[in-house]
Amino acid sequence: MPHDDHDHPHSLLPSDPALRVKALETILVAKGLVDPAAMAVILETYETKVGPHLGARVVARAWADPRFRALLLKNANAAMAELGVTGRQGEHVVAVENTPGTHNMVVCTLCSCYPWPLLGIPPAWYKSDAYRARAVREPRKVLAEFGVTLPEGQKVRVWDSTAEVRYLVVPMRPEGTEGMDEAALATLVTRDSMIGTGLPLAP
């Protein structure tokens, strides 16, 4: 229906959930239980600052620097801190490295736990029932739907995230990237390759 000022002289009514969120916010701010300024900072952080480009920097550094790679696999948070990648929902990260023998893939069967400081807010498919249920049951089929076909000898290991432990997949460095610097390497690291539902781009 076209919006017509004669038929709708008042402001456009927000959706039911939008009104319910507004209601909660009004009540909680009035009671001093939540600070609107804190909310604004959180909004800005996750809408504009945090995203997979941060995880890509970590992976690219691991590809380029053996010392960093060793630290990342042993103590991911210490390695992330060296690059200034820290924050909520990333307090305990475990980095799992893909090898010719094992491909790693991450899911949260409970809800949608995800390493926010490295990857930002999860995509809708990560939060869907279909992915959450099937990633554990039939990972190869799910991977095929993402366009990933693994060699027969490579086994798939699925990691189930929790509210305490989040996982970062460190994909294998693509062939033909010798001599590329970290910044160039980072452009090859896709979000999905760090969840394990994709592979890095070819150079």
Partner: protein, 103 residues
């Protein structure tokens, strides 16, 4: 890499920020949040397959309303009334004017 928009609608972003801010202010721990949210998703998912989009945030909102109701910080009746006050404010504010909550 072109960043994807993390939230499909502004209210989803506000809901997210509200929940995180409440948890950081000590209203509930994140593991407690995850457990409650997981239970809602399970209940919704038993009725139909969730696609991880709007239905995901609908479950999120229901979970937060439930937690705040039980904690007494935003009782369901109070939240319901406030929702209708906002609706009335929108309906009584001329188009283009800032919407303010009436007394």
């Amino acid at each position: 890499m072109t960043p994807e928009r993390p939230f499909a609608e502004p209210w989803q972003a506000e809901l997210f920020a509200l929940t995180v801010a409440l948890s950081e202010a000590g209203q509930f721990s994140w593991p407690d949040w995850a457990a409650a949210f997981g239970a809602t998703l399970k209940r919704h998912g038993a009725a139909r397959e969730l696609d991880g989009g709007a239905d995901y945030y609908a479950a999120w909102l229901e979970t937060l309303e439930g937690l705040l109701d039980r904690a007494g910080s935003a009782p369901a009746a109070e939240a319901h009334e406030m929702r209708h006050r906002w609706e009335a404010a929108y309906l009584s504010t001329p188009h283009g004017k800032p919407v303010r909550l009436g007394e």
